[in-house]
């Protein structure tokens, strides 16, 4: 286990192919009346076309906030820094009008709860037609309608004509999510952001929807950013995994690496396994305590340290930087990666600079 402290973390794909979506040092702060809440801190990653990155973490880890910040959905309610490149365009430099034209066309979103995300008072067909006409994919109403039928068929809806005429409440949860996916891919976006797209669904339907995502990705070649708390979903669909805790990425790597041999105690806890060199192989460990709630002040040093079985005194003094620990792998834990003395001390700025 060697730690190459001189190398700083970079997104693994960056070297291979130009990323469809490039996120660089994004931080999100919500100013509230009493104090500022740092929801996301210095998050960087890239996704190549045709690839899937999973943001894995619990509720409150900042993974959903990250996905919304990328699409600039917060408006003035959040302060966002950093940079996002979408197919060569810097999203944070666009004016709202230009950004609006990209939303739904170049970067589209599949919501967590399709029941809440469809307008309950309008027919499914009308909502699809509206997207197509907003982005000038189809000028005429009849053309858009025909196109909507094709879309519904392409997401595996057996009787598209009926669904087109249906109101959201008349459909099953799985059908609603398929309809939402049809809305999302209507303009053939290059990036698809899916926020817990299977959480609200039955287990059997979950698998079908995940399969649909894989199928669509193969056909359309889009990059996918999927947010989930479900390790099973990550295993199913991820090419790369970024594990988030308390607003930061704590581990990054290919799905096989991160989920196969985690190199951060938090990931280990998520997977329900403990590292072999401290406890007998196969023993399960429940992580004590709970993650910091939204807006709660974070513990000093590594935010995970109060719950971490490996924490040493340095962990409570200093926030460990996310550093490259192997080829295409990064971790923010010095302890399980060779110790603090081999870590690049506290120079987060340098790490970020290297990434941009």
């Amino acid at each position: 286990m060697t730690v190459t402290t001189e190398m700083r973390v970079t997104a693994p794909e960056q070297a291979v192919a130009p990323a469809a979506l490039e996120v660089e040092g994004v931080s999100v702060t919500f100013p509230t009346k009493s104090r500022e809440i740092d929801a996301v801190r210095d998050v960087s990653f890239g996704i190549a076309a045709g690839k899937t990155l999973v943001l894995l973490g619990e509720s409150g880890s900042g993974k959903s906030v990250t996905s919304r910040a990328i699409m600039r959905l917060y408006g003035r309610s959040a302060r966002i820094t950093g940079a996002v490149q979408l197919a060569g365009r810097s999203l944070f430099d666009l004016d709202e009008r230009a950004m609006r034209k990209l939303r739904g066309a170049e970067i589209a979103m599949v919501p967590q709860d399709p029941t809440a995300a469809l307008d309950p008072l309008r027919r499914v067909g009308a909502q699809i037609v509206e997207v197509l006409r907003t982005h000038d994919i189809e000028k005429s109403r009849s053309g858009a309608k025909a196109r909507a039928l094709d879309l519904l068929a392409s997401v595996g809806i057996p009787d598209p004509a009926r669904v087109l005429r249906s109101y959201p409440h008349e459909l099953s949860g799985g059908m609603r999510q398929r309809a939402m996916i049809a809305v999302a891919i209507a303009c053939e976006p290059s990036v698809l952001v899916a926020d817990e797209p299977t959480t609200a669904l039955d287990v059997t339907v979950q698998a079908q929807v995940l399969e649909l995502f894989a199928e669509l990705q193969e056909r359309m070649g889009m990059a996918m950013l999927m947010v989930t708390h479900d390790v099973g979903v990550a295993r199913d669909i991820a090419d790369d995994v970024a594990v988030m805790y308390a607003g930061r990425i704590v581990e990054f790597g290919t799905a096989n690496d991160v989920l196969g041999s985690p190199r951060h105690p938090y990931t280990m806890g998520l997977l329900g396994a403990v590292p072999s060199h401290t406890v007998a192989r196969g023993a399960l460990l429940a992580i004590p305590g709970r993650p910091p709630a939204a807006g709660e002040p974070l513990p000093a040093g590594c935010a995970f340290s109060p719950r971490c079985p490996h924490a040493v005194s340095e962990c409570r003094d200093e926030v460990p930087a996310l550093l490259q620990v192997a080829t295409d792998r990064a971790s923010a834990c010095p302890v399980v990666n060779g110790g603090w003395d081999r870590w690049d001390h506290g120079d987060e700025g340098a790490a970020r600079q290297a990434a941009t």
Binding site: L102, R103, P111, R122, E130
Partner: protein, 315 residues
């Protein structure tokens, strides 16, 4: 939608029947008997007896109810004791006048309520938004007679720019313009309190809707903000319709006060005068007509609700 409407119409039959029963019972419970009221103090006992027999008041209460019920179904609401004319046409004339006032008040309540509620929902931190919020809170509590007298003092007594009583001028042309001038003050007085309620419901409902996932979803699909706002407003309609059904009763309540203050020749004034004159058939006829009208208006509101919200339509 027609089927829905007809089904709702059938469903109100028991309610209307209940209303008729209640009105009949109140008529019976009122102290003093109508025969004495009809004949005056100078009547002899034999005259009284004769009249009681004529009116059927010596029959059992069930027979009396049945006769009254049949008469009501045929549109016969009895005779005014004081004016010696049938109650039906008298009450209907007054009813339409009341509806004119109610429609005027509704326009003020709805337009004002949407503007004030919308402003306080969309710009809650600005001075304008806060002011609208306070106007909404204040107008909910406004007693219709207080605001009515206030308006008379300002516009009719001090400035003398608007008439303070009646529906039409006694001199000059009695046209639509004249009616409108007479309508303004009473409509404001009757519409202010419902306006506050519309404003509050619109504000809280728009607030909820703007936080809903589907609004974010619309934005994530690239819909222009004007469109997003239209869809959000569309989604406040069910809540608004639900209260407007309830609030119409409240509005009619206010209209009773307003009509007496502004001498508006509607049902409120007619009932008020009839109470002073102990003209019970007129009181009961008026109350009956208003109650039935309220029930019917609620059916219309329900139908509109179903037209807008597919979730409440029967499968």
């Amino acid at each position: 939608m027609l089927k829905f409407f007809l089904r709702r119409l059938l469903a109100i039959i028991p309610i209307v029947f209940g209303v008729i029963v209640v009105v009949f019972l109140t008529l019976k419970l009122i102290p003093g008997d109508p025969a004495s009221a009809l004949l005056g103090a100078s009547a002899t006992p034999s005259q009284r007896k004769q009249l009681i027999a004529d009116l059927g008041l010596n029959r059992s209460i069930f027979v009396q109810f049945w006769n009254w019920f049949l008469a009501v179904l045929q549109g016969d609401l009895g005779h005014s004791i004081l004016r010696q004319q049938p109650v039906g046409p008298m009450v209907m004339d007054a009813f339409w006048n009341t509806m004119i006032l109610a429609v005027g008040a509704s326009v003020i309540a709805i337009v004002g309520g949407l503007v004030i509620g919308g402003a306080s929902a969309l710009w809650p931190r600005t001075l304008f938004g806060r002011a609208c919020n306070w106007i909404a809170t204040g107008s909910v509590s406004t007693p219709q007679y207080s605001i009515g007298l206030g308006l008379i003092v300002i516009f009719a007594v001090n400035w003398e720019i608007l008439p303070a009583s009646g529906m039409y001028s006694s001199t000059g042309p009695q046209n639509f313009w004249d009616l409108l001038q007479h309508l303004i003050l009473p409509a404001i007085a009757a519409g202010l309190a419902p306006m506050g309620i519309v404003a509050r419901v619109f504000r809280s409902s728009l607030d909820d809707v703007m936080r809903a996932d589907f609004v974010e979803s619309y934005r994530a699909r690239g819909a222009p903000s004007r469109k997003v706002l239209t869809h959000a407003a569309h989604n406040t309609m069910p809540a608004l319709l639900t209260i407007s059904g309830l609030q119409f009763g409240y509005l009619i309540s206010g209209v009773v006060f307003v009509e007496t203050i502004f001498s508006w020749p509607g049902l409120g004034l007619l009932i008020y005068n009839s109470i002073a004159q102990r003209d019970y058939p007129v009181i009961e006829g008026g109350v009956l007509i208003l109650a039935v009208a309220l029930v019917l208006i609620n059916v219309l509101v329900d139908t509109a609700h179903a037209a807008i919200d597919p979730r409440v339509r029967p499968a």
